[in-house]
Structures are given as C-alpha cells and as structure tokens.
Symmetry: C2
C-alpha cells in the first residue's frame, strides 16, 4: 500500500533556492562538485535527496544514509542532527534509488482474476491489506490476470521482473502450481486458502469445514432432512473442506443430502437461478440449501421464488457471506460471516513477516467467526525503519 502520507512530512519546504555559500575547504575535488549540484539543485522545486542533507549538514552522503538508518558507526549527535535536517526539509527516500540499488521494491502484489468478482470480496481484501501496509513503507499493487493467460503467468511475471517483494493470491488449489513456482523462485507469498501439496507456506484460510458443519446443524435444527450443497468449484482446495463438513454434518444428524454436481458457485447467477428452479420442481427436492458463497445465494433465492416457493417455508438457506447483505435483505436466510477484510490483514501480515524471514509454519492461520482466528502477531519490521518510509 502506499503507506499513508506520514507524520514527519509536515515540512513541505524544499531545499530549493540554496546558493553555494559554504564550500568545504578541506577535501577538495569531489566534495565541491557535490556541494554545487546539491545546492544548485534545480532552483525550481526539486525533492531533497541525501545529497541535499549531506550538503546542509556538511557530511558525506554515505554518512547521512547511514545516520538515517540508525547504523552503529554514526555518533548519536550526528544522527540527531541529520534527522532534524531531514525532517525539516521533508526528506523522503527515493524509491527508485533504493529499488535499483538494493533490489527491494517495497511492494506487495495482490493477484486477482479479471473475471472473478464475488460481491466486493476484492474490495474487502484490498482494504484489509491496506490496513496493515499503511503503517509500513510498502505499497500495494493489484496485478490482475485474465483467463486466457492463466493465474500462473501473473506470478511468473512478478518473479521474473522482481516487481514485488511479496505476493498474495487466492483461489488456491490442492496442488497449486503458483505455490510451487513462488516457492521455487524464493518469492515470499501468502495464500488465501490452504493447499495440500507438502509444501509449507504462509496462508490464511476460513474454516469451511466448520462452516458447512454448522450450516447442516442449523438446517437440521429446522427439521430439514434433504440438503443440497452448492459447493465451490471442485478444483479449489476448499471444495474438499466444504464437502468434509457437509458429509460429517449429514452423518451426525442422520439426514440426507447431496452435492450439486452440475453447479457450483462459479456459475452465473442466472444459471444458478435456473438450475435451482429446476431442482425444486423435480422429485426428491431439497428442503435446505447451503451456499458456499454470498453471491450464489442471491441466485438460489431467485430460483426458489421462480419455483413458486418461499425461503423459510418450503426451503431454508444457510449461506456464507462476506458482507452483511443477505442477512439484512433476507432475514430468513441463515448466514455465517467470513471476514475477508480480516483475511487481508492476516495475509498482509504473513507476507511481511515472511519477507523478514519468519518460517512459514508460523504464518498460517485459520479463521472461524465464533472461534476467533489464530491471530498472527503484528509484524515487527526490523529491517525497515518506520521513520524512513517514503
């Protein structure tokens, strides 16, 4: 995220119209030149650089650089002096300079699909990540991928061009090529959703097993005996979790249920509507439907009504939701919240800590509403001094 404009930026004055007054007499050549260009520094409105501060403090650029990052070989008074001047003139490190020299981009990339958009889930994710990055020098770049290029391409692009220090992505599959690729290329990342491929990596996941389990319980409590699970696409890892909880729930309550094989949450709302209508008009119709995404529930509700039935009467619904919408507009619908904004926070924290070298095992969390998440400790960014965020 673009770190929010930071506190010490009060002084918006620039070291613009300085004239060469005070030329150091001692070490001649290079210093003189530096002083000139630092002082003559574009009389217009040039941003101050280390050179500017070096000139003003009568120190070498290196010294200023080291002073600002609190290096041990700079004396305390010098550090104080340098910081004072830096603050006064509103110095902000040049990201391009840092990036070129160190290779660190100070960028986290959120990779999303250009097609997918499940009811503002991306907004929530962006906001959550921003919550965390706001206090750091990191910027958030959103990198989309189109269907024809495939999700791996985006990751590959980021790795090849080293255009980010860390990546966040979702729609994880049990065996996810992106996880393999990023791991192999040493690119820190965190996934929204777990994988099942024997690679330890940072993730944050919603406990979909608990979710479907509870959904079954709620429907069972309403005397529903023939459930339908509208699952996520079978390719995604959390499909398995949803199934597991669903089946366990059915067993525990001794009721029937099946998983829609022709339909999943990735279908268009119109398709869902049509299919649900069909299903409800046929024999052996379900009396309870579990929706594993908030938007799919919209289609389901529409389908139910198309079939001439009423939610809460002939059929009950329990749905996941990531914004409190369904529960507002259709109080009859049972909802369980996935806090995607919090997921964003967890993921951002995890990537940052991963960048700082933390082991992946310590960067994994699973969330469930009433059993609040295994919170990750907030990242302590030792290598980047919060003062010097630009």
């Amino acid at each position: 995220m673009a770190n929010s404009p930071n506190k010490e930026s009060t002084g918006s004055r620039t070291a613009s119209s300085l004239k060469v007054i005070n030329d150091k007499p001692g070490n001649a050549t290079a210093k003189t030149k530096a002083a000139q260009s630092a002082a003559g520094n574009n009389d217009t409105e040039a941003r101050p650089t280390l050179k500017t501060i070096a000139y003003m403090t009568n120190l070498a650029v290196t010294t200023v650089s080291r002073a600002l990052k609190d290096a041990p070989d700079i004396s305390a008074p010098t550090k104080a002096r340098v910081r004072l001047v830096a603050d006064q003139i509103g110095y902000r490190p040049n990201r391009a300079g840092i990036r070129l020299r160190t290779g660190r981009t100070q960028v986290i990339s959120l990779v999303i699909s250009l097609e997918e958009e499940v009811m503002g889930i991306t907004s929530q994710m962006v906001l959550g990540i921003s919550d965390v990055l706001s206090d750091t020098p990191y910027h958030l770049i959103v990198t989309p991928y189109s269907q024809q290029q495939g999700p791996l391409e985006a990751i590959r692009y980021i790795c090849e061009t080293r255009s980010a220090d860390g990546v966040i992505f979702s729609s994880t599959e049990p065996d996810d090529e992106r996880v393999r690729y990023a791991t192999a290329h040493g690119m820190p990342f965190a996934t929204h959703g777990r994988t099942d491929m024997g690679i330890q990596h940072p993730y944050h996941d919603f406990d979909n097993t608990k979710f479907t389990l509870e959904a079954v319980s709620r429907l069972a409590a309403k005397q529903r005996r023939n459930l339908l699970l509208l699952s996520p696409p079978a390719s995604l890892n959390y499909y398995r979790h949803c199934i597991a909880g669903f089946n366990q729930g059915l067993r525990e309550h001794g009721i029937n249920g099946h998983i829609s094989s022709t339909l999943d949450t990735s279908a268009k709302l119109d398709e869902i509507e049509a299919m649900i209508k069909d299903l409800l008009s046929g024999p052996d119709r379900p009396d309870g439907i579990i929706c594993t995404s908030g938007s799919s529930a919209i289609g389901v509700i529409a389908g139910i009504e198309q079939a001439g039935l009423t939610v809460g009467k002939e059929v009950d619904i329990v749905s996941k939701q990531s914004i409190s919408l369904l529960s507002k507009i259709r109080k009859e619908v049972g909802t369980i919240n996935e806090d995607v904004r919090n997921a964003g926070r967890q993921l951002a924290t995890a990537v940052l800590r991963s960048i700082d070298g933390e082991a992946p095992e310590n960067l994994q969390s699973v969330e469930y509403p009433d059993m609040p998440s295994t919170d990750l400790p907030s990242p302590d960014l030792p290598s980047h001094d919060p003062q010097s965020k630009d």
Copy 2:
C-alpha cells in the same frame, strides 16, 4: 496495473552462463570491462539487462536502448537483430532504472478511503482500471487514506514523492481541494464525478440528474405521489445533480416529494433502516423512495419491512445499483445501473491520455445506461512502445 505478463516473454532463458569468448579487439578499455561484467553476469540466474544484449549483439548499451525504442537513428537491420536477441533472452526493462533516470514511474494510483465501501464498488473500479492498464506498461497502486488524515494527504503524498504518473480518485466535491492541489502540482489525474470550480480536468461521471429524473418518472408511473429522495452526502458534488433531477421530475409530474435532511447514503445500514421505519410510521408517509446508492436500498427495504409494509405494495423503490444484486434478490425494486467497471475504464483511459498531454476538455465523459457513454477513444500511448512493456 501490472501489465499482464506479456507475449514476448516466452523465452525464460537467461544469458546466465555465458563466458567471455568474443572480446571486441577494437576499442579497448571500457568495452572489455562491460563485456566481462555482462558475460560474467552472475552465473546464477541474473535478469538480462541492456548490457547483456549489448554484449551479445556487440553493440553499445545506448544503441541497444535506442534500438528497442525504435529510435530513428538506428538502422533497421540492427533494430531487428536487437529485438530478436531481446526476445530470445526474455529481456524486460528494469522499472527502477527507468524510473530513476526518467522520473516516470509507470504507475497509476487509485486513491480510496479505508472506511468507505459501498458494496464492491472498489472492486469494480479496480477491475475497470485494470482492463485498460493490462495493455500498457502501467501498474495500478491502491493508495488508501484514513479518515483522520483526510483525502488530500494521499494526493499530497503521491505528488511529493512522485510515486505515480497519474491519480484517480472519487467522492468529488463541488470545490475539491484535491483537484486544486493536483492541478497546481502538475500531477495528471481523473476524477470519478465532476466538480464545479472553474478548473477543467479529466473526469468520468454518472448522469445522476437523468437518474433521479427517471426514477421520479418510474414512481410517478406507478401512481406514487409523495416521494422521498435518499440523497448522497450534501458535501459531494453529485448531491446537486441528484437534487436537480429529483426536483425537475417532481415538477414535470406535478407530484410531491422531499429530500431526507437527516439521512444520506453514507449512513450505516442500521441507521437507514431505523430512520425509514420511523418515517413510514409517521404522518404523510412517502409512497416512493429513491435510493442513490445500492447499499442504502438494502437498509431502506429492511426499514420498510420493519414498518410492516411491503415493497411494491404501499411503497415503491427505485435505486441505483452498481452490481446486479437488488434486481435479482428483490425484483420489486426498480433499478438503474451505474457501470462502475466501465467508469474505471474511462478514468484509466483519461489519465493515460492526460499523461500523454491531451487537453482535459477532451477527457471528460458522462454516462447514462440507455444513452451510452460519450466514449473516450482508446489511448494511443505514443511514448511507450507496447513491445517494451516490462
């Protein structure tokens, strides 16, 4: 946006393990050194740079640079040769190098509020912008601002640190300090929503006057005679547009209506629900409600039901919506769509063309569903060759 990983990146081979075989005998000193470091170039897996290509083609770095950007003083055969090699080794320009040298960041920044989140509008905006940036070398950075820091700070930060080549922001006010600031500092930008301050600038807006006008017409057609407008916050410029259309509609149809003074679309859903319930329980209750945001309609519907009334019976609603949700889940609700994703496309296009020096007068568009938008021509990015996007 991170431009999507591009086509010519097929060759993921690197010029890694080249040995110094062919050292140019002619011009000695500098060339030899360059060749050595280009060839000895980190035997591990270093990204190819201009230097790598220069060594391979036996040309100077400058020549390679100019060849790749199709400069007129390079011969056609040389250009072809350079491009061939560049493609083969999968050369991608280093953004930090370019940024440092030229000051161009190849970044567009979308400034959003950390608090605001009106039902996935940010997602749509991000996707729309991405649609456009995908074909360019530009990346999309999302820069949030928190309430206490104020929206101007984010723009100021971007300008001061020159961390983007262009900015997109919304929630425009009639007299908007951000517009003034960005204009004064020569930072290209485009706003979602117009302003009214005598400054010409790129914008894309939804025609809210037409919207409220039509909303009134629709309600009048349903014999509604006492309307309520749930307006946006009065500080925003489109408040005025909404009012104008509303009043005009009332006049044209000779019916009554008023604008809620205590409530606007920025209120929490619960507040809206409570207020609407109150209003409907009081005397002179409205029989038609116009919602200027999709999410507020949710609250309104809830309020209506809380009051024991039914949407479509005692009260009708017409609402703006940015995703087809209301119209799905509550077919009784009249909806008019604002295509925010398209707004994102328009805005991105406008900023890019503004960066390319196009006059703001030519970068303004107003959209209305059935009277399709004054489409901006697609940007022709003359200065950045699509081939060389990294």
